[in-house]
Subunit: 216 residues, 2 copies
């Protein structure tokens, strides 16, 4: 797969070796995560709001209530930044200075457009559900007309995009390696717990495979 | 503990019952998380960057390389938004529309100041380390003069702050409860894996308690 074009705004300047611009890396991070942080500006004040998202090719979809300030602001076509971060572990060095976090992040800059075509909108809603949990869409009640109307969907093109990745153990100063300090990485995986059935679950409804075997 | 004063900018308008403004709730979320997303504006473009943080009372500390664009921009005293999000689980409803995520988030609006007093700066560096891993500071080599110089520390007052929390199972439409769809919550806890020792670990260095028994 080809690379995203690096721009002055997406070039990773600090620690450039951590930067990545290839679609494979970017897609993988976006598809493993399911929460993004959306940045937008109102009256000069930046706001950063967590939300879910979906992806189809080079389009990132955002959605929410038609009444949400974020959705209303973004649908006006203002500059937006969507950031996705996966935390993989704590990097424990011998010195305070070299402590770090192993992570994979993607930053998308651009302008979103309102999705008003009903076919694209329904497909985006399918993507949101499938992005959170693959296999779920085929089992649930799909959106009706009223729900479609109450939901705003925005499409953000993946054009100005960069990824940043830190992996591996600590990089200590040479003279610190002799210190009697435990150093290494503490992995912090997200591990699904046991599913908690809804109190009003219809009796005899089994836990489906897509829930029981969920992983990201 | 007292509440933060609700402002026009921090009032949770959509689903107001999810909003919280009391210090106890806000502190708890901030102290459980260790990654925040920092939003700032350069030439009208918002940027959202993940980073670590520390907290002492009503002050949030950010830090990074003195060469970082984010730190340089913020130290000029521009408006900033710091958002912290903890994801607790997936809320699986009977309809696509009512799918959700259980989460706890905090949004802080304000203006950061550069910390140049060396006592406050060193204390902030201690807080970063202890925030990532309690008990670590006493075992590691502390920052030297050169490292202190290479690090920029910013203080953001916790004044304009709100929390937003979603808990519990799905809220389905009454007529959907009879559908033969499994519904409930899939918890997504962060569970530390086995510590991975650094390849150059001094032989015989035991894994300390603060690593072996790590939890958030």
């Amino acid at each position: 797969m080809s690379d995203f074009t690096v721009t002055e705004r997406t070039q990773v300047k600090r620690l450039p070796k951590r930067g990545a611009y290839d679609r494979e890396t970017v897609y993988k991070i976006l598809d493993e995560a399911f929460v993004c942080h959306v940045g937008f500006v109102v009256d000069g004040q930046p706001y950063v709001i967590p939300t879910n998202f979906g992806r189809a090719g080079d389009t990132l979809y955002l959605h929410g209530s038609a009444a949400s300030r974020m959705l209303r602001t973004l649908s006006e076509g203002v500059p937006v930044c969507v950031t996705v971060t996966l935390v993989d572990g704590l990097v424990l060095a011998r010195s305070a200075f070299h402590h770090s976090v192993n992570y994979r992040s993607v930053v998308v800059l651009g302008t979103a457009r309102l999705v008003d075509d009903s076919t694209e909108k329904l497909e985006a809603l399918r993507l949101f559900t499938e992005h959170i949990m693959k296999g779920r869409w085929d089992e649930i009640r799909r959106p009706n007309q009223q729900e479609m109307k109450a939901t705003t969907v925005l499409a953000l093109p993946l054009e100005e995009v960069s990824a940043k990745i830190r992996t591996g153990g600590p990089n200590d100063d040479e003279e610190d390696y002799s210190l009697p300090v435990w150093a290494g990485v503490l992995p912090l995986p997200v591990t699904p717990g046991a599913p908690i059935a809804d109190a009003r679950l219809r009796s005899g409804t089994p836990v489906p495979e897509h829930v029981a075997k969920y992983s990201r």
